[in-house]
C-alpha cells in the first residue's frame, strides 16, 4: 500500500503524481518469458533476478503473469514442471506507460496485486511497476525538485549591484539541527564588510530571533537578507499559521510556545520585542491562516533619530 491519498495530499505532491508518468518510475528491461516456459524455469529466473513476478509474452505481447504465489502453489500441488500457459493469471490489470503515476497509486489501492505490468501504445510489454518503484520514484523526483529549488535560490543570491548582498534561506519548522545557520551567515557577511561590532550584534540578535521564530512557530518560511553600505535588512516570511493578536505578540513575556520548546531555552516571549529593540526600523504584518511577514532594518550608517 502506498500512503498517499490522490484526493487529499499536499498540492506539491499531487502536482508530482500527476506530472510524473508511469514510464518515469517503472523498472524497464523486464525479464519476460514465452508461455511454454516451465514453472521451474520461471522459479529460477525469479531467484536469479530477485523478482516476485514474471510476465508471460507471446511475440512480445503480454498474455499473462506468473507470481511467486503461483510458484508456491505449483510446488505444493506438484505441477512445477508444467508450462506457464496452463497456470498463469490471464485476467491482467495493466498500466500504460503514458498514464500519470496517480493511476498506479489508485491501482495498488484498488487491486491486491504487488506489481503491475506496463505496456506501451503498441501493447508491448515495456516494464513493471511495484509499490517500491512508486515510492522510490517519488522520492527521487522530490529530491530533484528540492535541488532545483535550492539552485534557484542560489541564483537569486547571485551578486547584484556592486556592494550589495542578498541571501535567501529556507527555514523549516522544528529544524533545530540547522537553527542559527542563516544568522551565522549574516554575521559573517557583516564581519567581512568590516561592520562595527555593535551593529553586527544588533543584526545577529534580530536575525536569530526571527530565525528561531520560524523554527519554533511557523509552518516553515524564508529568511531574507539584504545588505548594502547603508543598512542590513532582515525579513522573515512564512506560510502560516499567522499571529491572531499582534499586540500580545509584541508583549515581552507573552509566548504561545509549548513546554518542549521552552525546555530548549526558547519561547520566553522575548523574540519579537528583542528584534524591535535592536532594529532601527521594524514592521510586522500577519494574517491568520496566511502567514507572517516581519522586517527589521539595522542602519549601518547612523541616521538622525537612530537608537544608541
Amino acid at each position: 500500500m502506498i500512503p498517499i491519498d490522490p484526493n487529499a495530499s499536499p498540492s506539491a505532491l499531487l502536482e508530482l503524481i500527476y506530472r510524473l508518468k508511469v514510464k518515469d518510475i517503472m523498472t524497464g528491461q523486464v525479464k519476460s518469458v514465452e508461455k511454454d516456459t516451465s514453472l521451474r524455469e520461471i522459479q529460477r529466473i525469479m531467484r536469479e533476478n530477485k523478482v516476485s513476478g514474471v510476465p508471460i509474452v507471446e511475440d512480445s505481447r503480454l498474455v499473462g503473469m506468473i507470481s511467486v504465489d503461483d510458484i508456491i502453489r505449483a510446488l505444493d500441488q506438484g505441477y512445477i514442471d508444467s508450462p506457464a500457459a496452463v497456470h498463469m493469471s490471464r485476467k491482467l490489470v495493466v498500466l500504460e506507460d503514458d498514464m500519470p503515476v496517480s493511476f498506479a497509486i489508485s491501482s495498488f489501492e484498488k487491486y491486491q496485486y504487488g506489481r503491475f505490468p506496463v505496456i506501451n501504445r503498441a501493447r508491448e510489454l515495456v516494464g513493471i511497476v511495484t509499490s517500491r518503484d512508486v515510492t522510490s520514484g517519488l522520492l527521487m523526483e522530490m529530491n530533484r525538485s528540492l535541488e532545483e529549488m535550492e539552485r534557484v535560490l542560489n541564483l537569486q543570491a547571485a551578486p547584484g549591484p556592486i556592494g550589495q548582498v542578498k541571501r535567501v534561506f529556507l527555514v523549516q519548522q522544528f529544524d533545530y539541527e540547522n537553527a542559527g545557520r542563516a544568522s551565522t551567515e549574516l554575521k559573517k557577511i557583516l564581519q567581512d564588510r568590516g561592520v562595527d561590532r555593535t551593529l553586527q550584534r544588533k543584526a545577529a540578535v534580530a536575525s536569530y530571533e526571527l530565525e528561531m521564530n520560524l523554527v519554533n512557530h511557523s509552518l516553515g518560511g524564508r529568511l531574507i537578507f539584504h545588505v548594502d553600505d547603508e543598512q542590513a535588512t532582515i525579513e522573515a516570511v512564512d506560510q502560516g499559521p499567522g499571529i491572531p493578536d499582534l499586540a500580545k505578540a509584541m508583549t515581552e513575556g507573552f509566548s504561545t510556545a509549548n513546554d518542549w520548546i521552552r525546555s530548549l531555552g526558547f519561547g520566553a516571549g522575548m523574540g519579537l520585542p528583542n528584534t524591535k529593540r535592536v532594529a532601527d526600523e521594524f514592521d510586522l504584518q500577519s494574517a491568520v491562516g496566511k502567514g507572517t511577514h516581519v522586517k527589521a532594518v539595522i542602519h549601518l550608517k547612523p541616521r538622525p533619530g537612530d537608537k544608541p
Partner: protein, 112 residues
C-alpha cells in the same frame, strides 16, 4: 581571567580541547533570547542548556566558553558544533549561583 582558569581555578571539566583566550565577562542564563540580547562579547556563559542551539546562540553573541552547571552532559552534536565554532565547553557539578560567584571573583568583581 582566561578560559583555562575555568578548568584550573573554578573546578570545571573540559569536554573538548580548547584554545586558551581571555574572558572579558560572564553571563548566567537559560533563556537563549536573553543570552542573545545581553551576554557580553568574549564572555563565558553559565547555563543549564546543553544542546547544539546553545552553541549557535553563543557563537552569534560572541561567547567564548560555555559551562554546563549541575553536572549536565553535552550531547555529541553540541560538542561537534562547538568544535567547529571554536567555543570551549565545560561541565561542572557546581550550581549556577556558585559558578557565577566563583567566576565573578576571578573577573575581579568585588562585593556590593
Amino acid at each position: 581571567m582566561t578560559i583555562a582558569d575555568l578548568e584550573h581555578r573554578v573546578g570545571c571539566t573540559a569536554l573538548i580541547p580548547y584554545a586558551d583566550a581571555e574572558l572579558s565577562g560572564a553571563y548566567t542564563s537559560d533563556l537563549l533570547s536573553d543570552v542573545m540580547a545581553h551576554a557580553p562579547e568574549g564572555s563565558v556563559l553559565i547555563t543549564l542548556q546543553g544542546h547544539r542551539n546553545t552553541v549557535a546562540c553563543a557563537s552569534l553573541a560572541g561567547v567564548r566558553a560555555i559551562v554546563l552547571a549541575g553536572q549536565r552532559d553535552a550531547p555529541e552534536d553540541m560538542l561537534e558544533a562547538a568544535r567547529s565554532e571554536g567555543i570551549a565547553v565545560f561541565s561542572s557539578p557546581l550550581r549556577q549561583f556558585e559558578l557565577s560567584w566563583r567566576v565573578a571573583a576571578l573577573l575581579g568583581m568585588g562585593g556590593v
